[in-house]
């Protein structure tokens, strides 16, 4: 017997639905209207519906595709690196953390800092005249590379992102790894399976859902990167570090091209929705299997 009648359930859901409609549904609707309108800051309250011209403008804009490419590469590289390093740390540090769980707190510290602050911090850390890294490189090697030059900026930005967010992947993997019953590993050991076979055939398969979820979360987060990139290099020399979020921000505020910016944001929304749907489908397939 159900705890609540359908009418009661609907009643309890009403405030949440109302909240979502007001704070997510309304802006989304306005976004959709603006994306097919000719609109400026002067005509925010009176947009003229003009069709899909803004979408055509965005899709024909080389800078849009360049920013999509930057965001895609950035998301892929950082998500992969964070997951691989996080997995290694989770497996390698598991015995130590089981014995001294207090060590978990310092490992999580980077997650506590706002991405914009991380960007500002590294701007200082990598500065030739104020930062410790170039200082010691000059002292020991007599030279220091240009960390934020066009050639090195992508690597520097990716490393900064990876340093901040690897603990997130590590936390998820460590919890998943800890959740595997030791009996299974003991049974495998009794059968004479070496450690790498245990890892390949027991640990990783059992951790697969967490691995997939962590990768997708980090991919989405990397794809919409804004704060630390903006603080470190802005959009980069010649626009070389323009992520999709920076592209939208610049189109909206700097160029006043509201329709174009909103159309790009709708495309970003659709791409995110596609990724989330993919995750959902994968999860559904696994459940059915």
């Amino acid at each position: 017997m159900a705890l609540l009648k359908p009418a009661q359930s609907r009643l309890f859901l009403t405030p949440l639905t109302g909240f979502l409609m007001l704070f997510l549904g309304f802006p989304a609707l306005v976004n959709l209207v603006y994306s097919v309108s000719s609109v400026s800051f002067e005509t925010l309250r009176n947009p003229q519906i003009t069709g899909f011209g803004n979408y055509a403008l965005v899709l024909a804009d080389g800078e849009f595709w360049r920013s999509v490419s930057f965001s895609g590469r950035f998301a892929l590289v950082t998500a992969l690196a964070e997951c691989l390093i996080g997995l290694f740390l989770a497996l390698f540090l598991a015995p130590l953390l089981r014995a001294h769980s207090v060590l978990m707190a310092p490992l999580m510290l980077p997650l506590m800092v706002a991405p914009a602050m991380i960007g500002l911090m590294y701007r200082l850390v990598l500065h030739e005249f104020a930062g410790p890294v170039p200082y010691y490189l000059f002292l020991w090697l007599g030279d220091s590379p240009a960390f934020l030059s066009v050639e090195n900026a992508f690597t520097a930005l990716a490393v900064v992102e990876i340093l901040q967010w690897t603990p997130f992947a590590f936390l998820l993997f460590y919890m998943a790894y800890s959740g595997i019953s030791p009996d299974i590993r003991e049974a495998a050991a009794l059968d004479g399976a070496p450690w790498y076979r245990v890892l390949l055939w027991i640990d990783l398969p059992l951790m697969r859902p967490t691995l997939a979820i962590a990768f997708f979360i980090r991919f989405i987060d990397g794809f919409r990167v804004f704060d630390n990139v903006y603080a470190l290099t802005g959009s980069g020399a010649g626009g070389s570090t323009t992520s999709l979020s920076i592209y939208i921000y610049q189109a909206f505020f700097k160029q006043g091209a509201i329709g174009k910016a909103v159309a790009a944001s709708v495309l970003l929304f659709l791409a995110s929705l596609a990724v989330l749907t993919l995750i959902n489908l994968m999860a559904g397939t696994r459940r059915r299997a």
Partner: protein, 443 residues
Amino acid sequence: MRLTKTLLVVTGLILSTTGLPGLAQAKVTVLGWPGGSEETALRAVAEAYNAEPGRAEADKVELIFFNRDGFFDKLQADMAAGSDAFDINLVATYSIGRYAPYMDTIDLGADAQKTFGDSVLKTMQFEGRQYGVPTDLSLHFMYYRKDLIDALLQDEAAKAKYAEIAQKYLGKSLAPKDPDSWTWDDWAATALYFSKQVNPASPTRYGTVLQMKNLLFNMMVFQSLPRSYGGDWMDKDGKITVDSAAYRTGLELYKKLYDAGASPKDSLSYEYAETNAAFGAGQAATALQWNAAAGDLTSAEKSPAVAEVTGMVAPPAGPDGRADHIHGLGLGLNKAAKNKEGATRFLKWLATENAALAYAKAGGSPALAPEVVAKVAAERPDLVKLGDFAGKYGYVMTGATSAKALSVYELQAKEFTGYWSGQQSLDEALKKTETGMAELLKK
């Protein structure tokens, strides 16, 4: 009955604590530039204005501030929404056109001309109409190391090396000069001479620090170089003239210095703060930098390595003489203001000599007419230089107060840094800039 009475009392209390005082004291609300000397100075003059005898309650000024980060974007969103939360708002030279549709023009009276002079008042004009009172002015100084230049001027062997470097990199033999008579070539030769990559015996690592980050403010710093070669954004017919010999010379000179190692390798990510850090560390012989840095770079506490040996002159000269990019911050009247009369009275007062002097004494940086600035010269010697340079060399590019001026600077920043970083040719950069500017500045 008791409930009705209670409701009436509660309603009365709410009205008496919220709405009614607002009606009785319709103060003038001013949205100022937060943080820094501008806020301190504005607070001081607002206090003085409110304290004047006979000041009506409705005329008293109340200040509001929010964060600097994204200030102009937030302000635009507020004003576009018709916000009446402030009667007077901040305005900057390069964004007047952007805010003009939401602002009223003001007549500041004859006093303003005497206080500031025409070239400074123009920094607050759009299409010939006055939109604000200029409160603070920004321009650029060429900062240089007096000790290094003095030593160079007295050393014959160094002069020979200097001439050799100038010949090799600039194609002409030059002799060291006093910085106040530098041309851009003299500055470039000096920058090359004081760079270890060019001259391993240089006492500094770099000869200059170029601000080359893809940032609109860096374009303002750069602009004076092509301007002194006769460059402008457009001609009198509205044709974009950025693809010119003047811009080519300026852009090529920056790239030449950067490629030669006369400026730090990371210059493409440098802006105001990085330039200060490099010059302040004693590792750069010159820097074209905002006047606002003067305080820090000459402070023994903040820049102990260079405070005593930092000199400041106007930017070097080109064939058309010297040019110094000026832009100002000011205060103007919100079209949706609730108290326009009170706001206009405050703005007119702010444009008087006494108010401008009070603002200067409180730490602000107004550019004042020579006879006015003389009255605070003892307390604010930097303002003398500011007013002097603004009057003699100050300029605003044609179109630089239009609604899309910020976008033009953004466009230039993207395309020019693309050239400096080697991602595109000079021809491509100028062509894209010209096309983009024509689109942005079309009538």
